[in-house]
């Protein structure tokens, strides 16, 4: 079943001089219920712009964005409120995306308050503590502020916050790009656990193709605001058809000196 659909989405931004620049050109794809969809591309390819259109943070110039029957750009009232509850975002920057003046508990429970899901303060606090435990944070730290947590812990707060309203779709925009490998692995594992625990559909945006291979069943490759190829994990990584995808994959370093040498020899011979 299709949970989310983008159809022929175009978006331009005003340029300093001359014509507006086209950042998304005729982008169309579906997100099926229960899948994890990877969106990959180099910086400036339009990944975050797509995320913003999906989250109603930006309005497309043309084309449609539909979540479970809701016309996203035009959603109002009860529909908008359901949309805001059921679609959540986790950003890249664990430093910038959390309000520094709110405690971990307030940040995590904010959605429960805003959406009127839990009017009782003590109950909200209990739920925030429960979520902290789920994402691997010590619930005793509920009254601490974001800047007293490490980058990885802040990303756990952001994930707990996104999960509080029991969303159906989670959009993650480069959620591990700023983290060290050991912490990145912890957060990736957490996302996998939460995906199972909450039955989530996930749109995972990244420039790191290895992370995308690990997490995503289906992948969309973006280049200069256009989709160049989409397919299953097996298709994209096993048998990429487009030269652009091939060049992207060939450039990713392999952490194995023997394979790296083999690949270099193959390139030299070709």
């Amino acid at each position: 079943m299709k949970l989310f659909t983008l159809d022929s989405v175009c978006k331009s931004f005003a340029a300093k001089t001359g014509n507006p620049t086209r950042v998304l050109n005729d982008v169309s794809f579906d997100v099926a219920t229960g899948e994890t969809l990877g969106l990959v591309g180099e910086s400036g390819s339009g990944k975050s712009t797509i995320a913003k259109c999906m989250l109603k943070l930006l309005r497309p110039d043309s084309g449609s964005v539909v979540f479970d029957g809701i016309d996203v750009p035009n959603a109002r009232g009860a529909e908008l409120s359901r949309f805001r509850r059921e679609v959540q975002l986790v950003f890249q920057d664990p430093y910038g995306s959390l309000n520094p003046r709110m405690t971990a508990g307030e940040l995590i429970a904010e959605g429960l308050l805003v959406h009127g899901l839990e009017p009782n303060g003590a109950a909200r606090r209990r739920q925030a503590q429960h979520l902290m435990g789920l994402v691997g944070l010590d619930p005793d730290n509920i009254d601490r502020y974001p800047n007293s947590f490490s980058g990885g812990q802040r990303q756990r707060i952001a994930i707990a916050r996104a999960l509080a309203c029991r969303p159906r779709l989670l959009v993650c925009d480069e959620p591990v790009a700023a983290l060290d490998v050991s912490v990145q692995a912890q957060v990736i594992n957490l996302l996998q656990d939460m995906r199972a625990e909450f039955d989530l559909t996930v749109v995972f945006i990244a420039h790191d193709l290895a992370v995308v291979r690990h997490l995503c069943q289906r992948i969309i490759v973006l280049h200069r605001g256009e989709i160049v190829e989409q397919g299953s994990r097996e298709e994209i990584f096993g048998n990429p058809r487009m030269p652009y995808t091939q060049s992207l994959l060939a450039a990713v370093p392999i952490p194995d000196p023997v394979l790296a040498q083999r690949r270099r020899t193959a390139v030299q011979e070709a």
Partner: protein, 337 residues
């Protein structure tokens, strides 16, 4: 020691040849209140002529401070121990002599080229300046600048010399900074995360260039990165740093095949792979310690699955072990051969 042909197929070490760089018990400290805190805590290593060594470790482990100390760029920190490069004791040179070492014997590139480039001057000017400081005439300096941009495969190099930094893409700027580091014909290039901010395809091009140039010039390279993929493809040897110390040092083949330090094993297991599917990543529990809160004993013990009583009390020293150097009381088993 198992010596396999190194990745670039370059010459084997000459027995008895003095290393280009020898660092012995380097400590770099800052003063905090009345206390002195070692950011780099007793690091010893050497680099041979033409050898490419990767320095890896998570952020905050002290990689950049180590690199900058080699060039005496950390003015507010105190460095002790010894650094001998091409026969000269870096920590004993006068400021004037040190200025000639920078860009002369040792060249350096950083992650962010814009912090290094003057936005108001043409790049030709900036590349040539490195030589002009050394008394090279303007014409010769400009000729060499053109030549080095050619070597770095910058197209239409002559035109580019009159352009300003903002007119360049990230990859091009990194080539300009590389040109500035190489124009003085250094023996050692220190590259601190030079490709981290670049997209993979551009990164791949810059790495290929570095590979070619370091090989043709017999240049030694100290390459700092957190990307183990780059290490595997580029370096002959890898040093792993944790909490201010080198915890493992070995040739890339042995280290990747059978790391002996549990931290190195943890890092390698935590990396997702582009070349195969995986269900679950191994992860190292906890996070690297802050400089002011580094644990007693082995700095890695609170995160280590192999730790026992001794690790809590006694800091392990870096010692020879099967052709590698490892600082661990209970190393991982040797590779099955």
């Amino acid at each position: 020691m198992m010596m396999q042909p190194n990745p670039a197929g370059r010459p084997a070490p000459v027995p008895g040849e003095a290393p280009l760089l020898s660092v012995d018990n380097l400590c770099v400290s800052i003063r905090v209140d009345d206390r002195s805190v070692n950011i780099v805590d007793g690091v010893s290593f050497s680099i041979r002529r033409g050898e490419r060594v990767a320095l890896v470790g998570e952020s905050g482990s002290g990689k950049s401070v180590t690199a900058r100390a080699l060039m005496r760029l950390e003015r507010r920190m105190k460095a002790t121990g010894s650094i001998v490069c091409d026969g000269r004791d870096i920590l004993k040179l006068s400021d004037g002599e040190m200025r000639r070492v920078r860009g002369g014997t040792i060249g350096m590139v950083f992650q962010d080229p814009m912090s290094f480039l003057d936005p108001l001057r043409t790049i030709g000017d900036q590349i040539a300046e490195t030589l002009r400081i050394r008394g090279v005439s303007r014409r010769d300096a400009e000729r060499k600048a053109l030549h080095i941009l050619d070597e770095l495969k910058v197209e239409r190099a002559a035109e580019r010399l009159t352009a300003y930094p903002h007119e360049f893409s990230g990859g091009m700027r990194q080539r300009v900074v590389l040109a500035m580091a190489l124009i003085g014909d250094p023996r050692l290039l220190i590259a601190d995360e030079p490709t981290t901010a670049l997209d993979v395809r551009v990164q791949d091009q810059v790495l290929a260039l570095l590979d070619e140039i370091s090989r043709s010039r017999g240049l030694s390279v100290l390459f700092i990165t957190h990307d183990l993929g780059i290490v595997a493809g580029f370096a002959d040897r890898v040093m792993v740093m944790y909490a201010g110390s080198v915890v493992e040092d070995g040739d890339v083949y042995s280290t990747f095949a059978a790391p002996r330090h549990p931290y190195t094993r943890g890092l390698l297991d935590a990396v997702p792979r582009i070349d195969r599917d995986s269900d679950r990543l191994a992860s190292i529990r906890g996070t690297p310690p802050h400089v002011f809160a580094r644990p007693q004993g082995c700095p890695f013990h609170p995160r280590c699955d192999r730790a026992f009583e001794r690790c809590v009390i006694e800091r392990p020293v870096l010692r020879e072990l099967g052709g590698m150097r490892v600082a661990c009381h209970r190393p991982e088993p040797e590779a099955a051969r």
